[in-house]
């Protein structure tokens, strides 16, 4: 096993274990903090996939931004300490539907995994992908890039509207 394999299994175990805590923890704050390790593990997987820009984005936006937003969201709710998020309060029908959907998703993933022609060539020895991403964003994918800013505009206007509804 090479060092890269060890790093991969370390991140894979980190992601699965912390994601399990996110789902099963009774305390919603523990879930939020376990989510931090899930995001961090995904960033590590991105590094192993040679996607350095994605890894930095994952750390800066998901860990630095989205997670803070989630924790704020928890703190904004009325009853934090008394919230009882039991996972076992589903009806029989819900459990069966969930099981069927999970099996379908698993079969789909396994099919994708086995059918895809995985490119096993040696990874290009490029120092960084950031320059290519920047060039493509501002030439071929310019429309998507500008639409992304419109999406962000909607987010900030929506937040301003919701937060200021009572006073104005």
């Amino acid at each position: 096993m090479s060092l890269i394999d060890i790093a991969f299994y370390f991140f894979a175990i980190l992601i699965i274990a912390s994601a399990y805590i996110v789902v099963t923890s009774k305390n919603i704050m523990y879930s939020a903090f376990a989510l931090l390790f899930t995001f961090f593990g995904v960033a590590g997987i991105y590094v192993l996939l040679n996607a350095d820009f994605l890894a930095i984005t994952q750390i800066v936006i998901y860990i630095g931004g989205i997670l803070v937003l989630i924790i704020f969201g928890v703190m904004l709710t009325n009853r934090i300490t008394g919230v009882d998020i039991k996972t076992g309060t589903m009806s029989k029908f819900q459990i069966w539907m969930t099981a069927i959907l999970c099996v379908i998703a698993a079969i789909g993933l396994i099919l994708i995994f086995t059918q895809t022609n995985w490119n096993t060539a040696l990874s290009p020895t490029k120092a960084s992908t950031i320059e290519d991403i920047g060039t493509l964003l501002l030439t071929d994918y310019l429309i998507g890039f500008e639409i992304a800013s419109v999406l962000l505009l909607i987010a900030i206007i929506g937040a301003a509207l919701i937060a200021r509804r009572k006073t104005n």
Binding site: I61, S128, I130, T135, L138, F145, I156, I157, A159
Partner: protein, 118 residues
Amino acid sequence: MIETYLPLIFMLVFAFAVAFIFMILSEWIGAKRTTPEKVTTYESGMVPRGTARERFSVKFYLVAMSFIVFDIEVIFMYPWAVSFNETGLAGLIGMIIFVIILLAGLIYEIRKGGLKWD
């Protein structure tokens, strides 16, 4: 490229391991003579009043949301800055449009009083 990041990964793992081991060790072999003063949240600091799990003002949410939006804007600026020599004037114009659209959001937020704290 991965090889250049491996030392970073192992440094992170090492840092986590050291912090974790020291916490466990101090829990196991440390002396535990507690006084009421020692178990307060900030020893010799402010006397805590009320629980820390209080309901926060929604204004924090607006600040966090603005932070994320402009965080993403800066993340997009980074590849543009790196590839500036290749994209040139067209890239600059594309970026200016991007910033102007987001600037509209910022102006809206200021006009709406979203950044006032009272």
